[in-house]
């Protein structure tokens, strides 16, 4: 049994009698009705108009049948309608008839050639022309897992959506446009607002050009050779503010480029970047307005110095505790004293540095606060950098502790192999047995014994400073996460999903309107909106920093071996 499907725009259900114009999809055996041409018309003009439309839209639009919307059934009219079939020859010829007294529509299909199999059933599917035209169908994400049947269905649906979307030109013809041909289809009603849109479009071209010029100037300054020398480039790569500014610069370049977005994802990307930039700047200005009121900057600067002092004092206390007998652990007294004094001297240096800086802190904060107008993310990045700078002593302690510990661990592991009379064979990547000389054995064992007894002391210092460092890393990581969230959230897509849910379609669902034997089945096609999760997943903007590539296991291994851990990971590193 072959089913013939007729997709009928719901806005045409009250149209006057006329011709059905649409696109015939022979593979699916279905007709997509796009508009109704009203009586009276001249067939030649209709054909000419349709050929023009065909040229513009690249859709094979043709007359598919007739449409009658009359009070009573008239014999003469039906004959006339059949005759039209000979003028606009189409196979098959669809005759739709709506009777006002009955809920059911009648539909008949005339086949000229008896060789083609007779359709047994006709399904009328109503669709909202505007929604279908504007919506963008997202094929199911997990196509590989689903059956071929499902994928085929999705592609069939996509053809119908595509047909309607391409025939946009057909809908441009206004209702009040008295030409030789009168049409019924969906029509836009917001003509007045579109004037403002047009004005903005016109204005955006010079603005974009100016922006592009400025951006190219800024980026050429950034890429200049003076800033590429070793210490500077190293500093740039470690400051998250610079990364964030570069990222935003790229975004601005994308927005201001005068190339037209080729397809829907690119368009959405541009819109997403634009909206997220706007939201970011708005939040930044909000932050700024809060900061600069009631001398909050001064208060902040007044509290910052005591806090840094307090942290240094606490660290001093911690070191004093470590230099005693911490938690009853058996430490090597001599090494403990040496390490403790070394770190105490560092803290002393740090405190004097802070006090040297204290008169300028307020001024620095005031100027730094101005950067919030570039966006909340930039302000957050600067905050992250300030935290990194203020906890530099903790970082130093961590590095010293980790290096010392790492040295001990590697020394011990290699001396332990010597202790057993083995060695690491680099060429074969395995442990081989080896015969050592007497003096090698003696010195190795002596060092092994010494390192083994000194290990607890170093390990304790390493543990304490690693915990402090992890605390700072976690805070910085949270700030980075927030910045990433603001950077990558596709705000425009989410707003679209919230307000115009049909624009992002995941699929369709059909609702049965009427069903009776002998009459065509009538269905209403409704658009299933995309879920929020998939919206975010599909339109997520790429960010410059990605999450640390280590898993928890490798992180723990690194911590155990005393390798340095960093919160920042760049895409370039990941590709290595």
């Amino acid at each position: 049994m072959v089913v013939l499907k007729v997709f009928f725009p719901s806005c045409c259900s009250s149209a006057e009698s006329g011709l059905l114009v649409g696109h015939w999809i022979p593979e699916q055996n279905s007709a997509v009705i796009l508009a109704v041409f009203h009586f009276p018309f001249i067939p030649v003009q209709v054909k000419q108009y349709l050929s023009e439309v065909r040229q513009v839209t690249q859709v094979n639009v043709s007359v598919l049948g007739t449409w009658s919307n009359c009070k009573k059934k008239e014999e003469s009219l039906s004959e006339f309608l059949e005759d039209l079939g000979t003028i606009f020859s189409h196979e098959p010829w669809i005759q739709l008839c709506k009777e006002t007294d009955s809920k059911f529509w009648s539909c008949s299909v005339i086949q000229k050639h008896p060789s083609t199999p007779k359709e047994d059933e006709i399904i009328l599917v109503y669709y909202d022309q505007r929604k279908v035209m504007l919506s963008h169908l997202h094929p199911p994400g997990n196509l590989t897992n689903s059956t071929d049947h499902k994928a085929e269905d999705a592609s069939k649906l996509a053809v119908i959506f595509d047909t309607v979307a391409k025939s946009k030109v057909l809908f441009m013809k206004d209702r009040y446009d008295y030409g030789p041909i009168k049409l019924t289809h969906w029509q836009s009603e917001g003509v007045e607002a579109s004037i403002i849109v047009e004005l903005m479009k016109q204005a955006s071209i010079p603005v974009c050009m100016l922006l592009t010029f400025l951006l190219s100037f800024v980026s050429s300054v950034c890429k200049s050779r003076v800033l590429k020398f070793w210490p500077l480039s190293f500093i740039w790569s470690k400051l998250s503010t610079c990364e964030q500014l570069g990222h935003r610069l790229e975004h601005l370049q994308v927005i201001s480029s005068n190339r037209k977005a080729q397809n829907q994802p690119q368009l959405m990307r541009k819109a997403n970047i634009f909206v997220s930039l706007l939201a970011d700047v708005a939040l930044g200005i909000l932050l700024m307005s809060w900061l600069y009121r009631k001398n909050r900057i001064g208060h902040l600067a007044d509290t910052l110095i005591p806090v840094a002092d307090h942290v240094a004092k606490e660290l001093q206390g911690l070191l004093q505790w470590l230099m005693g007998v911490p938690a009853g652990l058996k430490m090597n007294r001599a090494l403990d004293q040496v390490l403790g004094r070394f770190f105490l001297y560092h803290i002393h240096l740090w405190i004097s540095y802070i006090h040297l800086m204290s008169p300028f802190i307020e001024m620095i904060l005031w100027y730094v606060g101005l950067s919030a107008c570039l966006g909340l993310t930039v302000a957050l990045s600067i905050l992250s950098d300030i935290i990194a700078l203020l906890t530099f002593h903790i970082y130093c302690f961590y590095v010293y502790g980790a290096r010392l510990y790492c040295l001990k661990i590697y020394g011990l592991s290699s001396l332990w192999r010597l202790f057993r009379g083995k060695k690491w064979n680099v060429l074969r990547q395995r442990v081989d047995s080896c015969s050592y000389d007497l003096d090698q054995l003696f010195i190795g064992t002596l060092l092994f014994t010494i390192l083994l007894f000194l290990l607890p002391t170093t390990a304790l210092y390493y543990l304490v400073f690693t915990l402090l460092r992890l605390l700072v890393v976690v805070v910085q990581g949270l700030i980075h996460l927030l910045v990433d969230l603001i950077d990558s959230l596709p705000l425009y897509s989410i707003l679209l999903r919230l307000c115009r849910s049909y624009r992002l379609a995941a699929g369709v669902k059909f609702r049965v309107l009427e069903q009776r034997t002998g009459k065509p089945l009538r269905l209403l096609m409704q658009i299933n909106p995309l879920s929020y999760g998939r919206v975010v997943q599909t339109y997520r903007l790429p960010t410059y920093s990605c999450y640390p590539k280590d898993s928890w296991g490798s992180l723990c291994k690194k911590l155990f071996l005393g390798e340095l851990i960093y919160p920042w990971k760049h895409k370039g590193e990941k590709q290595d």
Partner: protein, 297 residues
């Protein structure tokens, strides 16, 4: 067909090969199966006094450990002066060094291609490193309790005795590990001594008694067995005397241990040979007897 029973072709004899198709099931064996059975092929007839002679190595090593512990005890109590021990060690080392070359009239030295300059260098490295690290060794185990140090030293010295190369060809033998454990134990014990010079002398003495003395012994045993017996007996007696001055009970127990190792254990070994009941045959796992090292190069 191959599945036909043997009665079809009685003339064909069964062969112990798998690469030919034979009219027998896979697990078939014929009458000659037990002809290749052999018993106790590795059993050896030991001579009592030869075994006693060989057990001298164990006695020597036990005595070395005993002498080391006794010396440490004296040092810890202050009964033995640092200078005296160092002087004695130096003199005995020099005598041993001369003896070492004199026994085989320089044959071993030529074979190893070891020069006197290399010996001097090794000695300098020992002395310099030990002397340089002795202040570190002194403070190394300050915060660790003495009982822990004793327990660790006992374990290490036991390990030294277990892994020592007494001349047996076994997998457990590792002269490197054995020597390292002895050095570890000596470093642990040396760190308990009152001054850093004590620690230096103690570690030097440990090197002499655990590394150099067994080398001389081995050579003595190979070249002049008669001399070796005398040295062993004298060494054992001196160790016993030293132990007797510390604890008489310990000396008695140590004597019993030495006697049982050198007299009872060999007797027991020879008696147990009578109970040996090993069977060998074609069912044994294949054994590679040839030395494959020339193919592996």
């Amino acid at each position: 067909s191959p599945a036909q029973p043997a009665t079809m072709n009685p003339a064909r004899h069964w062969q112990k090969v798998l690469y030919e198709r034979q009219p027998f099931p896979d697990n078939y064996v014929d009458q000659r199966f037990l002809e290749e059975l052999r018993k106790n092929i590795h059993a050896r007839q030991y001579q009592y006094w030869a075994v006693v002679f060989e057990s001298g190595a164990v006695v020597q090593q036990l005595c070395s450990v005993c002498v080391f512990i006794v010396t440490w005890w004296y040092m810890d109590d202050g009964l033995l002066s640092v200078q005296w021990l160092f002087g004695a060690g130096l003199v005995s080392s020099l005598i041993g060094y001369i003896l070492f070359d004199a026994i085989d009239s320089g044959a071993g030295r030529k074979e190893n291609r070891r020069t006197r300059w290399a010996d001097l260098k090794s000695t300098l490295v020992f002395v310099a490193f030990t002397y340089g690290f002795s202040p570190v060794l002194k403070t190394l185990t300050e915060s660790i309790s003495t009982d822990t140090i004793y327990a660790m030293s006992v374990f290490m010295l036991l390990g030294h005795l277990i892994f020592f190369d007494y001349g047996a060809n076994a997998a457990i033998v590792s002269s490197t590990l054995s020597l390292n454990m002895a050095i570890f134990a000596s470093v642990c014990l040396a760190s308990r001594l009152p001054r850093s010079l004590h620690a230096f002398v103690m570690v030097t003495f440990a090197i002499q008694i655990f590394a150099l003395w067994p080398m001389l012994q081995k050579k003595l045993k190979a070249q002049t067995p008669r001399c070796y017996i005398i040295v062993t007996v004298v060494f054992a007696l001196s160790a016993l005397t030293g132990l007797l001055t510390i604890s008489s009970v310990g000396a008695v127990l140590f004597t019993l241990l030495l006697v049982s190792i050198s007299c009872l254990c060999p007797y027991y070994l020879i008696r147990l040979q009578l109970f040996k009941d090993n069977i060998h045959g074609p069912w044994d796992e294949a054994e590679i007897k040839e030395d494959l090292s020339r193919f592996l190069m």
